[in-house]
């Protein structure tokens, strides 16, 4: 039997810091295909709730505890927010620069990074990537105050609630994934970060099942830079043709389409074609095209 020891060199671990915030905007089918950097992140407070115990009694004893479902919530604090976040904060922009409040709030994805430190490597020992799915933001207070004799900046704060998404396999649906850089394969981690931060095409947040697949067996890469893998637009017939590419799910204006010639466009119509990866695949290169009649 192994002899237990405490606080050995290299095992004095701690967690600190928060950075690399990314907001992910879902497309029409709920895939997080468009990421934007979130600057000035100061705090992310994770606040899981639920999982409350209900005691059951039988045979004149406490027989067992039944626990309710656990839900994930958090509070994001930052000095600023990306313009794209406004739509998730109940603000619509019917005209550029004009913001209309009290609109509906839709779901978004969020990713951030925290540091892992130890007594040897300091705060650069490793890091954890936190992926949040199905988040909605509650209205929050913004206290604008006069400039006084000391420089102050408003710290915005948003309380978010989440709806779990399918995690694949036998796992219960989840809204939170955490990847520990000190435990996973560095190549697989690079693949995930390339997706999250847009090193391989547009920044996107893969589904929990796809993230797990990256670290289980790896994803099959599809090069969207190859001409044969790209959609074409016939300026004579105004027809967009989507090639049949294994591992690619095509969407036009957010609606999933099958490969082949699409319905001819009409005058003034714009088709935004987007290639999204099927489960188990990763796309590299540009993944969206805009055709206008």
């Amino acid at each position: 039997m192994a002899h237990l020891t405490w606080d050995d060199t290299g095992s004095r671990l701690y967690e600190t810091g928060v950075d690399h915030g990314v907001l992910y905007i879902p497309d029409g089918s709920g895939d997080y295909t468009d990421g934007v950097a979130w600057n000035g992140l100061t705090t992310v407070t994770e606040s899981p709730s639920g999982a409350e115990a209900t005691a059951l009694f039988a045979d004149n004893i406490k027989y067992l505890d039944l626990r309710s479902a656990e839900t994930f919530g958090a509070t994001i604090e930052a000095y600023t927010y990306p313009d794209e976040f406004l739509q998730f904060d109940g603000v619509a922009s019917p005209v550029a620069g004009v913001h209309v409040g009290q609109q509906s709030r839709s779901t978004f994805g969020f990713c951030y990074r925290t540091r892992l430190g130890n007594d040897v490597g300091g705060s650069d020992y490793g890091y954890k990537l936190h992926l949040i799915y199905g988040a909605t933001a509650a209205p929050s207070e913004k206290a604008y105050a006069t400039i006084n004799d000391s420089p102050e900046a408003i710290t915005f704060s948003w309380e978010i609630a989440t709806t779990p998404v399918n995690a694949g396999g036998s796992l219960t649906p989840t809204a939170q994934l955490i990847i520990d850089s000190t435990k996973v394969d560095s190549g697989d981690l690079q693949t995930l970060e390339d997706l999250l931060y847009g090193q391989a095409g547009d920044p996107q947040m893969p589904s929990p099942a796809d993230v797990i697949a990256i670290f289980e067996a790896g994803l099959t890469s599809v090069n969207m830079g190859a001409g044969a893998n790209q959609p074409t637009y016939n300026t004579g017939t105004h027809v967009v043709t989507l090639p049949s590419v294994t591992g690619v799910v095509w969407k036009i204006n957010g609606v999933t389409k099958t490969a082949g010639a699409q319905t001819a466009m009409t005058t003034g119509q714009t088709s935004t074609v987007e290639a999204t990866p099927a489960s188990g695949y990763v796309l590299t290169g540009d993944t969206d095209w805009v055709f206008t009649y």
């Binding site: 950075d19 100061t42 006084n148 004799d149 000391s150 420089p151």
Partner: protein, 103 residues
């Protein structure tokens, strides 16, 4: 960026005083002409975000020196954004009004 920002403050102080008698950290034996403004780096305010210094602002100690205790520039210095009056004292017949200004 720090230098450029300080030069902007210098320009603003020259405009405020109406003369070029504005001195940044002058040496002890420097011969000054009054009324004048003497200023020096004092402190800095650092706002942190994304694990970095997200916003840094310098604070300067700005001293208005004048034989006249009711010099015109005192109110103007108090009206600077992020300005706070610190103290007043008289030395060698010269009135000193000290402000802390973030710029």
């Amino acid at each position: 960026m720090g230098l450029a920002q300080r030069l902007l403050l210098h320009e603003a102080l020259v405009d405020l005083l109406g003369t070029t008698n504005v001195y940044f950290q002058p040496p002890p034996d420097f011969q000054m002409t009054y009324p004048c403004i003497v200023y020096s780096r004092d402190d800095q305010s650092v706002k942190r975000g994304d694990n970095v210094a997200y916003n840094v602002r310098q604070r300067y100690q700005v001293t208005y020196i004048d034989k006249n205790p009711d010099g015109d520039s005192i109110d103007a210095l108090a009206e600077f954004p992020l300005s706070a009056f610190s103290r007043h004292f008289v030395t060698s017949g010269l009135n000193h009004d000290v402000f802390s200004i973030y710029y």
